[in-house]
Amino acid sequence: MENAISTSLRRLPVYVLIDCSGSMSGEPIAALEMGFRSLMADLTSDPQSLDTVWLSVITFASTAEQLVPLTDIVDFDPPHLEAGGTTALGEAIELLTERLLAEVRPTTPEQKGDWKPMVYVLTDGSPTDDWEGPVDDFRSRELASVIACGAGPEVDEGVLKRLGQTVIRLHDTQPGTLGAFMKWVTMSVNTVSRSVGTRATLNEMLPDLPEERGIRLVP
């Protein structure tokens, strides 16, 4: 009964994919956990986001897991994150594709679809699994607006560009940087939720990045 969603309600689905490989353990992962708490608090204090945003969290290390299925922001529980293992980005994208197809409602004659989903992928390294196939398959389906974010020097920018329409670099994985990043994610979800239906493009909608915190857009 909790899953009975009105056929005429348009949701803004937001998927956040977090790299939980060993290099993220300790402060970075704690900063992200905290980031989710304030994201939750901020989004629920905006009337438009509260009405429309649904959130899912997928983590990937040696394997990928959907920690939080797509959930009404009101019912969202900030997840507990654990880091350790390698970087199975390919598996994460495969899982993302599967979840998008299962959880997001396209527009059909019988049903008004959701707004185009937003996907944020945060990684601090290079993929350790077979990623090209899943990433290319995912891109070709055009299921979502993807913002690919790389933190620290180990990131392969080529992978990010192949994955997302928008690519963002974080200078490092310091808690301050990740905190500022999560805040930007929150702001961008807020602005996108207010812009749905205005038919603006993704880049028009995204707020400015906090460059002073070492976060910048890759042209």
């Binding site: 708490r37 629920t44 905006d46 009337p47 438009q48 019988e110």
Partner: protein, 477 residues
Amino acid sequence: MGSDKKQTENSDIRQKARTKEEVASIVRDLAKKYRIPKVVLEARLTSYVAEPYYQREIDVYEVERRLRELAEPESQRTAAKQQQSEAATQTGKVPASAQQRLVNAPIAPSPPNEGQESRSAEKSKASVKTESATDMGGPEPQVARHAEVRGTSDEATEVAMDESRGPAPAPIAPEWKVLEPKDRTEPVDHEVCKSVDRDEHWKIVAGSVRGKLHAHKALWRDDAFAFDWTDDWTILAVSDGAGSARISRVGARIACDEAVETLKTLLTNFRPSSADPDSPSEPDLMRIRTFLVEAARKAQAGILREAKARSCSHKDLYATLLVMVHRPLDRQHLVAAIQVGDGAVGIFSGDGNCTLMGVADHGEYSSETRFLTTPYIEHEFEQRVTFSIKKDIRCLAAMCDGVSDDFFPEGERLVELFVGDPIKELKQKSGEPVRGVMRSVLKEADKANALVEWLKYEKKGSSDDRTLLLMYRNDLL
């Protein structure tokens, strides 16, 4: 929940130790009832009992009473917020650093055993005044900026009551602001309505209201409508300016006016030539289609001309167009429409059925619509014309997507707009159910204002401008 024996005791709730699961389910119920985020509620409970809520027996009724108290005028809420954040820093009751932000959530009126509270509440009164003044709008740039950042500010776990949702049970949700646009160019009224007697049978009533998202973002209403008639022909038009376009309200206005004026000229003296007065011939229909296409072309040309005159991009004037013409035949009615972009035209007839004309074109994800000045759209104008010949029409409705989306899928549900009793998922501001326009608006004396009030219904996730044009048989209501 509690066993019957214990109900007699006053303090049973407080004394009963609850499992984490029990409390979690109570919290979930409360969060649902008051529509507040679960974490915010948890944070409130945490500040109330001064430790993670599930580690202690809590009096849920006491908590609920406090929640109800939160449903107070904004001034008190603001005071409470300030007082709470002060209390949090002063008393150091914050349990864990990760919780810190959440504990700043307003809990009102905070735990009673703290002396400094009343002082801080008074102190905050000055700020309260400016705060509530924002609601009435007024071009107050500072205040408006405050509204913009509020949703994203770091410690603003602000949970205010949405005044528009009615009193019981008092909902506690972030508040929709009503702000005046800072950009004072090209002003339009936030609400407009018109009611006209077309002739002895037909009346027209039209209304358009600014959506709550535009009010919240201090933007103008982007929708427009126009109507007119000539001989037996009636012309109705609505247009929805794109929310992302800077002056789309101007585009929408031009689109409606150009289309209606063009059709009025073309239809004057045009009578179906068919021998059978009840069945227009193929050439007649072709001509009407040509007229509608011409109306869309003129609307498009008008927008392009305006863009040139203003030296701006036609994208700044992006607008949809939906025009319909109606003519009574002998025992039937002819309705023809052209639709560019989303929105809907519905025909309600005496048998209680609703016919939907045209198909709105949104892409796989609904944000991808088309506009009058989308390149090469003019090649599609012809195929965007639809006809309907029907008996016993009682009401015609043309609307922008701000209304039609709330009746999705329109093919099945648009009939509710006319006679729904009640209409699913729609609520009046007072919390009362909403009934179809033929059962409510059209039965009122002042139909224009009744329509504007009707258009202000509440529906979760629906915050667009809303525009609805109705033409109805007054003598057959």
